[in-house]
């Protein structure tokens, strides 16, 4: 479904991630883990068209999306939820969800699917995003992304700023989406949570993929255990 080859990107000529190659198959949940500053956010933002790419290809269902601007990539079926969420502070939940389907009218079936997944959003349809709690904003960011009916959902640190219980709930919701057949790519620092959720993963350090494997393999890897799972 997604194949990244020889991918380098960064800011103003200084590459932050170098020559990365990885893939995500249909129906999989894949994690990218790494410490703060490893390049996870740069990778995802550049992949989704929000940062310039210096070299490489990002094949989404066979189409190279590198030359395509972010606003058109989402229409191809690959939706991105950034860690900063980028909601519209003055708009209501309802308005976010209907804009999520832009330029189409919101599909009622998708709408009820989102509201089933996040009942809180249904209770707060008329509330403005700027006045919501961090957890609710995260639900809204995911809900808005789902309204475009993506086949691949890319999330950057979906648990940023969430209390441990809410972070767990966020992954429960993502688990439901996975069961419904959505393919997911998640960058995360809270490794234990994402480890239990995903099929495979890549460890990104200093802008390069250092280790890769299934989640079970990574959970057993001594380096991963030491650096990310707090096992000594």
């Amino acid at each position: 479904m997604l194949e990244v080859r020889g991918f380098s990107a960064g800011y103003q000529g200084n590459d932050v991630v170098h020559d990365l190659s990885f893939r995500v198959d249909r129906g999989e949940a894949v994690m990218i883990i790494g410490s703060n500053g490893a390049g996870k956010t740069t990778l995802l933002r550049a992949m989704c068209g929000l940062l310039p790419v210096s070299s490489g290809k990002v094949l989404f269902e066979g189409t190279d999306v590198v030359p395509i601007p972010a606003q058109r990539i989402v229409r191809l079926g690959m939706s991105f939820v950034p860690s900063a969420r980028h909601l519209f502070p003055q708009m209501t939940v309802q308005e976010h969800l209907s804009l999520g389907a832009y330029p189409n009218r919101p599909d009622p079936e998708t709408m009820s699917l989102v509201l089933d997944l996040f009942p809180r959003l249904g209770e707060r349809r008329r509330q403005r995003a700027g006045t919501m709690s961090g957890g609710e904003q995260q639900m809204l960011a995911v809900g808005r992304a789902l309204m475009s009916r993506p086949r691949l959902l890319v999330l950057d640190e979906p648990t940023t700023g969430l209390a441990p219980k809410l972070a767990q709930e966020a992954y429960q919701a993502l688990g439901v989406l996975r069961l419904q057949g959505l393919t997911l790519l998640v960058a995360e620092q809270q490794v234990p949570l994402v480890m239990a959720f995903s099929d495979r993963g890549y460890v990104l350090e200093n802008g390069q993929i250092q280790i890769e494997g299934t989640s079970e393999e990574l959970a057993k890897n001594p380096e991963v255990r030491r650096a990310y799972l707090g096992v000594t």
Partner: protein
């Protein structure tokens, strides 16, 4: 007194429409268009010249609105391109410097080639009594058009997909891109609408007062004052502040004098900034 307040409402409604065109553009991350009044003046002069050439008022006004929109499109596709790439203070400053230049060029050209041209639309049919006050038909038409514009604007921004898309670009450009909205197209739409709104105010204004080639700077200043008092980016704020400042303006012109009125309006803007920096209905940062 009733007559003065009614006159204030007539003026205030037009102030409100004028401010919307300025505040929408400022909403694009701080693009300050100081050639805004000149957009209105150019439209007025185009209407006036079309009528001089023998065209009836209605098609001439249509051409004027197109000219206003065209002015906006021209700014969007040329001078403002480098402005859009900047952020924060640099964006405000570059837009301010460039559009001030445009304002001088337009003023200079008009004074050189058409110094005596002015737009006056005569609306005949005598006076109509409102609350015991005889009102000119021109004032009533101007007010009716302004109210209709506000109703249309509210409907557009609240209830249409395109209106929401425009608001989303103003509130979070990256968020807008992530849902599939092209910010460049929305910017063009905003600049063109801004020019059309300026042209509309020039037309309604000319129903009561001649719009001369030198009116640009004062129209820009009025729009700025209303925007500051109403709150940046708020259509409802522009409506409310327009009405309040319109009434203040006619009351003070009558009791104090025209010259001091501008000082009083500027003081209202200064007081707003000091006491409520986000304006009456604006959103605090």
């Amino acid at each position: 007194m009733t007559a003065i307040i009614l006159d204030g409402i007539v003026l205030g409604l037009q102030f409100g429409v004028l401010a919307v065109g300025l505040t929408l553009v400022y909403g694009l991350g701080g693009v300050l268009n100081l050639a805004y009044g000149q957009m209105a003046v150019v439209a007025a002069i185009v209407v006036s010249l079309s009528m001089d050439a023998g065209l009836p008022a209605a098609p001439a006004v249509g051409i004027g609105l197109l000219a206003g929109g065209g002015f906006g499109l021209l700014l969007d596709t040329t001078l403002l391109r480098p402005v859009y790439r900047l952020r924060g203070e640099a964006k405000v400053l570059l837009s301010l410097v460039l559009t001030l230049g445009v304002a001088f060029v337009v003023d200079g050209l008009l004074l050189w080639r058409l110094p005596l041209e002015a737009l006056t639309l005569h609306i005949g049919g005598g006076v109509v009594e409102i609350l015991g006050v005889p009102m000119r038909r021109g004032s009533l038409w101007a007010s009716a058009i302004s109210v209709a514009v506000f109703v249309a604007l509210f409907f557009f921004f609240r209830s249409t997909m395109l209106g929401r898309a425009v608001r989303s670009v103003i509130q979070d450009e990256e968020g807008a891109r992530l849902v599939g909205i092209d910010p460049g197209r929305m910017r063009t739409l905003i600049l063109v609408s801004s020019g059309v709104l300026a042209a509309l105010v020039a037309v309604t204004r000319s129903m009561t007062t001649p719009v001369t080639v030198t009116a640009g700077i004062s129209l820009t200043i009025f729009a700025l004052i209303v925007t500051v008092v109403g709150g940046l980016g708020s259509v409802a704020g522009a409506f409310l502040a327009g009405l309040i400042l319109g009434i203040i303006s006619t009351v003070s012109s009558f009791y104090i004098g025209t010259f001091l009125t501008l000082i009083i309006l500027l003081s209202a803007a200064a007081l707003t900034i000091l006491m409520r920096p986000s304006g009456l209905l604006g959103v605090p940062e």
